[in-house]
Symmetry: C2
Subunit: 338 residues, 2 copies
């Protein structure tokens, strides 16, 4: 079988994880990653044997740093069947003409607007609609987690309204420039935040509001979710619905915070202590008055990674069945490993 040729444009927090996850699959391969500067992340990419592509003006800097680039970003795009654009939010938009000119398929991340690709993806919710598409946007970490939790509840119980409060990690663990370090920042101060409405880019039928706070922590987001549902239900029914989902993990056994979830991921020897699943505290699931409440933690750096793999597989028509792709992706990256 000829493997799909994948390029990762932007080897940062998401890009490096997507590259490694593509490498773990047997039906796709990485033909190159791009990096603007020869920094420590580029050095590791070089060590891992990735072909590094860079802006033409910076090729000399890579040469000088002992990690010669394989060519320019334009050259990388030309060689690919599909580019996963993991450049910073808002930057990816500017690359659209590059991809169109080269005639390659493209995936953007949730930092870009829905309209850029015209289709927002979550593997559980709309895999089949992505099959054969040229342009896809994989929704953000928060939206991904919400879609995974809302979709199965809507299917089984009918979701009337969702209200979610997001306690967002202020920034990623490797970022020393951003705050707060001792404050809570309602962000945005005008409600609702974009997170709720963004769920509608995948699940347009869902009535959802959201508010978000920036919190002095780097590890994970925590969602407090309230769902009004159409049918009476029990805590056990909700647990069964979540428990049957391929990318929802129940956390407990002393994991009382995001820090302990990260320690668990480290103990499981997950790459970069990544936690690709929604982490739901089953004890927090509460039902009453046709309303469901629960807490879930979201690993902002990695939760969208398996979704990117499934999006590639759908767009490249490597698999037409979403459930099969999800299982294949999960298995290949080690999500099922104990």
């Amino acid at each position: 079988m000829v493997k799909a040729k994948i390029a990762v444009n932007g080897y940062g927090t998401i890009g490096k994880r997507v590259a490694d996850a593509v490498r773990a699959q047997d039906d796709m391969e990485i033909i190159g990653i791009s990096k603007t500067k020869p920094n420590y992340e580029a050095a590791v990419a070089h060590q891992l044997g990735y072909d590094i592509y860079a802006p033409a003006a910076n090729l000399g800097a890579f040469e000088k740093a002992g990690m010669p680039a394989a060519g320019t970003i334009e050259e990388m795009v030309e060689k690919a069947d599909l580019v996963v654009d993991c450049t910073p939010g808002g930057v990816g938009e500017g690359n659209k003409s590059l991809y169109e000119k080269a005639g390659v398929k493209a995936i953007w991340q949730g930092g870009e607007d829905h309209s850029l690709a015209g289709f927002s993806f979550n593997a559980i919710c709309n895999y089949e609609q992505a099959v054969g598409r040229d342009l896809v946007r994989v929704v953000s970490c928060n939206t991904t987690a919400l879609c995974r939790a809302i979709y199965p509840i809507d299917k089984e119980l009918g979701v009337k309204k969702v209200r979610v409060i997001l306690a967002r990690r202020a920034t990623d663990p490797n970022d020393v420039k951003k705050g707060p370090i001792n404050a809570i920042v309602p962000d945005p101060i005008k409600l609702p935040s974009h997170h709720g409405p963004d769920v509608k880019s995948v699940l347009p039928q869902i009535n959802i509001t959201s508010a978000a706070l920036k919190i002095p922590t780097t590890l994970m987001h925590v969602h407090t979710v309230n769902m009004e549902v159409d049918k009476d239900c029990t805590v056990d029914e909700v647990k069964n619905i979540f428990g049957s989902q391929p990318r929802i993990r129940f956390v407990g056994q002393g994991m009382s915070s995001t820090a302990e979830i990260m320690e668990f991921a480290r103990d499981m020897k997950r790459p970069r202590n990544d936690m690709w699943e929604n982490c739901i505290w089953p004890e927090s699931i509460t039902v009453g008055d046709k309303e469901i409440y629960f807490f879930q933690a979201v690993h902002q750096e990695s939760i969208v990674v398996p979704e990117n793999i499934d999006a590639i597989r759908a767009m490249m028509e490597l698999e037409s069945d979403g459930a099969k792709s999800i299982e294949k992706t999960n298995k290949a990256i080690g999500l099922y490993n104990k």
Copy 2:
């Protein structure tokens, strides 16, 4: 006029503020404060001229530390008309028999159960019912803030349901022993948290749920409040309702976080940068579908202080009108100062 003789049992975070606030009034006086150990807080109390009372076994230690105690805690209680118990949550309960034996009135804080006093107080909600009472519990910082916001909305628009998510500062600024420092802790993990139900100790008619997260910050709590109301309303109506409240402050003008609110309190030269009011971001007030949303920040160390003063005034029958007491308290402590 003979001033009411007030003792503060437990000169910690709340107690020292209550003592200073009592001192600022013209109808009550502090006859003593209690402290178990001659630490830096006791040293400041001594400098401020408070008579310090201590457990009999520790009198020698105070003598040795150069801040001789005026007597034992039992002796202090005997001299008072009313004791404000500011001992740590759960400890105050054990002091009830001491107060009863001495025939003094007593106020406990929100860390004690409602049943201990049989009456839970908030100045806006139920001042008149506290007049002449012997035992009163002033509800906690979070409950106080919720009562102040819910009561006027209920009065004007009818509150059908309240859902509140509390992002709680993990501990007070002077506490170096507690965490988390880089994690989010859903606490309690079982829902609802006690904060919602505790509002019912003051406002039994309110249907309310709550969930709480412990956050790595020491400054203030932040509440994300959702209220379903009976009547259609506009953002301006809600702003007018909050704006007419004596202990609600609108924050804006670049105050985008709890850190900036604290800086504002410092610039206003508030004692200990205390912020006695609910700090509501008016920009966050959102109305739609007969639901109101807003963010409010709560200064956990000081918000209950004026409530303690009003409770004293009601219990000692120094003033029968709640609105007048609130105004007198606010004015005396400097809440109206620009």
